[in-house]
Homo-oligomer: 333 residues x 2
């Protein structure tokens, strides 16, 4: 139009509702999704979310500042936020476009979020969670499959998304649906839209973006691992001393650390406190064999560390091409 370069676009209910160009959100990954990544995603036409994680007011303030005036959102681990709800108030003071809650009951926080004018995004892992999110009045539900890196549960995107879509069509037709877990390219985006999602939330792909706070050694380890090389496990939570609800496990690379500890959780628990400083030192040093490396099954689809804008542009262009190809398969018999 008017001499501008042709740019592919996919418009969905999600782009309209959030006022974004592309139906792509970045996951609020604890320790990896800071302000620079979130801002880059937003500037490229998606919606970036910073990872509120386990709650650190100083980190949160710094990363909101790093995002500058970009319109971003912020995500929290709900069971952890419940222990320190002032972090939500702090986040809302930055007037985020959205707050995303995952891994716990969103209902106690819903009113504060909506009253502040932020969209309420609830990430769910089961159909039962979806019902809680509807009850909380979620504007968006992120249906996260077991493919995802980091914490999650057992259901897969391929069945969870259409089943939640059917549930929303019946009980909450104005609530939008976003697919998460295992989506790292345009094929995944097109598949998610086919399953009934209005868009996608990508974690691992942005974890391997240039702007992520991920250690480069971890990105490098993930790039050389195929999708057979990740596993859901609990050793990383034991090592860090986080008391996760038993319904959730964390997907990481199936590395030496996991193989050393995952099969002996009782022994690990007994020793973890004395090993903690050492674990954190290895995290800081970026050792990819001796700590959790937080990438999902999509690791086998990720072959480069590139800026978030390039990820979004490539993903949308690929999805466009996939949709055009699918259209060519249709013939009247």
């Amino acid at each position: 139009m008017c001499g501008l370069e042709w740019l592919p676009m996919l418009t969905t209910r999600l782009t309209a509702r959030l006022g974004i160009r592309h139906p792509i959100l970045s996951a609020p990954m604890a320790f990896a999704a800071g302000g620079a990544l979130a801002a880059a995603v937003t500037h490229a036409g998606g919606l970036g979310l910073i990872g509120g994680g386990y709650g650190d007011a100083e980190w949160l303030g710094r990363e909101f500042a790093a995002a500058g005036n970009a319109r971003i959102g912020c995500g929290f681990i709900t069971w952890s936020l419940a222990k320190n709800p002032s972090l939500l108030t702090q986040a809302l003071s930055h007037a985020p476009a959205a707050i995303m809650l995952s891994f716990g009951d969103p209902r106690p926080h819903a009113h504060e979020i909506r009253a502040a004018g932020s969209a309420l995004i609830c990430q769910i892992q089961t159909l039962a969670h979806a019902r809680d999110a509807i009850e909380a009045g979620a504007d968006l539900i992120v249906a996260q499959g077991t493919e995802a890196g980091g914490h999650g549960a057992d259901r897969a995107v391929l069945t969870l998304v259409p089943e939640v879509a059917d549930c929303l069509a019946r009980f909450a037709p104005d609530t939008l649906l976003v697919a998460a877990g295992g989506i790292a390219d345009g094929r995944g985006l097109a598949a998610a839209l086919a399953l009934g999602a209005d868009g996608v939330l990508m974690g691992s792909r942005f974890w391997a973006a240039s702007e992520a706070l991920t250690h480069p050694n971890h990105q490098k380890a993930a790039l050389s691992t195929n999708g057979d090389g990740t596993v859901r496990q609990r050793a990383t939570d034991i090592a860090r001393g986080y008391d996760w609800p038993p319904a959730f496990t964390a997907r990481v690379l199936n590395n030496r650390f996991v193989q050393d500890w995952e099969h002996r959780p009782d022994e690990h628990r007994a020793m973890a406190e004395s090993l903690r400083a050492d674990y954190q030192a290895r995290v800081a040093a970026g050792d990819p064999d001796a700590v959790g490396v937080w990438v999902g099954e999509a690791t086998g689809l990720i072959h480069d560390v590139i800026p978030a804008a390039a990820i979004i542009e490539r993903t949308v262009a690929e999805a466009e091409a996939v949709i055009a190809r699918l259209g060519s398969l249709r013939i009247a018999g």
Copy 2:
């Protein structure tokens, strides 16, 4: 055309290669996929496969006969077939369109299958298996995700299919790719095609077809269960005395039987032989609480027991509509 009713069609490399109308195969489910189901799938334009299962020459002969002159395939559990390879020779005597091997090394059987003029279909659960299938000279690779009912492994369709597609594009571009696990409607078919598959293999959806050998009580139990209600477990193999390789678990309804036994495998193993006749009696009686009910995560997308032809017609029409909807999302910016 010529006054015929308009019928939706999706033509892919799979329809061309197998000479079928729709890119849909039915899974060769042990004990559920007999000749009547396979023939119905073939007559409706897909390719039906009977389930050779654990090897019973009499059953195999009866079900090939039940398929009449329909052009069907047959599937085997590879590690079980290796104990009784004469079953493969028996199956090949019926000149099946294809033989599908899953759960074991296909290479020892590949020559006999191809020499007999049947297509070799290898079902795989990991990228590593895909390499073995390429080495075996597979004509088709079925990439089976963890969503699937019955035996399988841990990787999900959303990442496994595109990763295998990339592998085939590079190393075996003439080998076709079929997605399996969690696909029960046109959304799943469209998503699988988006991910790079040439077609789909559906199990659970056909397990709940009128023509399946599934006990009606089991179908009824599955219809009233959503996708949160299945689980991967080993108790069913212990109960039946099957010595499955540890890499494979079986997805079934998470019913009383599973909850009673799955957490105490050693005790179960010690008692299983004395309980076996009782277990088999409960299978025959169709008790859906006290034995394995072999349906996958797609159970939440299955709401009726209908003929295979209606399943295929509906799935293709839905996929057509999904693809048309996706096309409408594309706009030039």
